[in-house]
């Protein structure tokens, strides 16, 4: 099987661990990943003002690229890219006035009428591979790893593009269970990490991140799994600062769900780029004897 894939800027640098682990996992599952040509930044956040169309042009241009290259589905990994592309796609599918204006503005491109479906990898895994098949393919079960899905905002909100209903975390739960992990319920699984407010003075984003991490530690959760590089930055890479400032008492390792999938499938740990996670993340997997390529 071959899929068309939109990576997103951060996955090429600071979140290379999200992408590389995904590509290696998909290869292990017999899926070939074809990155679309000439993609540009999706815009990261969806523009919410009714009259603003120029900020929809970026995501739509990527959908044009996918259409040009004959893709019916475009698979994404990053939650923010997924949300922005899917919401722009909704406009092109449902609002003919806006759609025509955007198409007229992009006079150097072919017309786009919402033909491509934007799919998050979690949805793809459920629909095209299936949890049972993944479970059969597991070579290094994540036994004893008490992990919780952390969805953040953009996988579920708003409802018309959410990968599942608000308050439900079934896709990642089923995935992690298939990998042999113990999935813990987590009250803060859909709380915002502070997002781009990290630019706007650190205090706000730090306090939201600290609340989420404390809640995880208090619940006995050993690790969080996410699909968003900004969540991973605010909750994971910033953890050292949170610990140093006394905002949290203990480290909670954070992973991309693709990394956990990869090691369970027996992909070589080097393909998961754990060097881009915080140190505690590697230690935990070593302690659980999960870091062995099968």
């Amino acid at each position: 099987m071959k899929i068309s894939y939109y990576p997103g800027c951060t996955l090429k640098t600071k979140a290379a661990n999200l992408e590389m682990a995904a590509v290696a996992s998909l290869a292990a599952l017999g899926v070939e990943v074809e990155e679309i040509d000439r993609w540009n930044c999706c815009g990261a956040v969806f523009s919410l003002t009714a009259d603003d169309l120029i900020h929809q042009v970026g995501p739509v241009r990527n959908l044009v690229r996918a259409k040009e290259q004959g893709a019916e589905k475009l698979v994404t990994l990053c939650s923010m890219c997924y949300n922005t592309l899917a919401r722009a796609n909704r406009i092109m599918q449902t609002d003919t006035v806006k759609r025509d204006t955007i198409n007229r503005f992009m006079d150097e491109e072919i017309d786009y009428l919402g033909e491509v479906e934007v799919v998050h990898l979690l949805t793809f895994l459920e629909q095209e591979i299936g949890w049972e098949r993944i479970s059969e393919m597991v070579k290094v079960p994540l036994e004893g790893l008490r992990v919780s899905p952390y969805y953040g905002c953009t996988l579920q909100r708003p409802a018309d593009v959410g990968i599942e209903p608000f308050g439900s975390f079934q896709l990642m739960t089923r995935l992690l269970e298939s990998l042999g992990a113990t999935v813990m319920p987590f009250a803060a699984a859909d709380k915002c990490c502070g997002s781009y407010q990290i630019l706007n003075g650190q205090d706000g984003a730090q306090s939201t991140a600290a609340t989420i991490l404390k809640s995880a530690a208090e619940t006995g959760i050993e690790a969080l799994a996410t699909s968003c590089p900004l969540c991973e930055f605010n909750l994971g890479k910033q953890q050292g600062k949170l610990l140093a400032n006394g905002l949290i008492d203990s480290a909670v390792p954070t992973y991309y769900f693709t990394q956990l999938l990869a090691i369970a499938l027996g992909v070589a740990p080097e393909s998961c780029r754990f060097d881009l996670n915080n140190g505690a993340s590697v230690d935990l997997l070593k302690n659980k004897n999960c870091l062995v390529a099968a």
């Binding site: 800027c9 923010m80 905002c153 909100r157 915002c192 781009y196 706000g204």
Partner: protein
């Protein structure tokens, strides 16, 4: 006929603009404060999201423009999905931001960010932050 510009006249124009930009009717709000309860950034805000909706209902333009609430909003849509009146409050916040940004006023200055900070931040943080906080 003499047209007198009153607070009420200014407020009416404000309602029109807010509705045009956000597509939302703030007068539907029944002040239940579910939005405030859901908001992860409420502690950083000088007025809670509920209070911003109240100020907007009364067209208190000056108090609204002096508030930091919509600049602290992370567009997480936690308020939106739980509003019992179906108001997309994140869109109201965006409309309030845009009324300032469209006059070429930045809330944060990209060139004033320390180089070390830019180097460590993921690209989506910069793109998202600049979209929401710069004009």
């Amino acid at each position: 006929m003499t047209l007198t510009i009153t607070d009420q006249a200014i407020a009416l124009k404000f309602f029109e603009k807010l509705k045009e930009l956000s597509g939302e009717n703030v007068k539907l709000c029944m002040q239940c404060a579910t939005c405030t309860g859901m908001c992860p950034m409420a502690a950083e805000m000088d007025h809670s999201p509920r209070k911003i909706m109240h100020l907007a209902q009364f067209g208190l333009v000056d108090m609204l423009s002096a508030s930091n609430t919509f600049w602290k909003c992370a567009s997480c849509h936690a308020c939106t999905v739980k509003c019992p009146r179906g108001i997309d409050i994140a869109k109201v916040m965006e409309a309030l931001r845009q009324q300032v940004l469209r006059k070429s006023k930045n809330y944060i200055e990209p060139s004033a960010l320390p180089a070390e900070r830019i180097e460590e931040l993921p690209q989506i943080a910069l793109v998202a932050g600049f979209r929401k906080l710069t004009s």
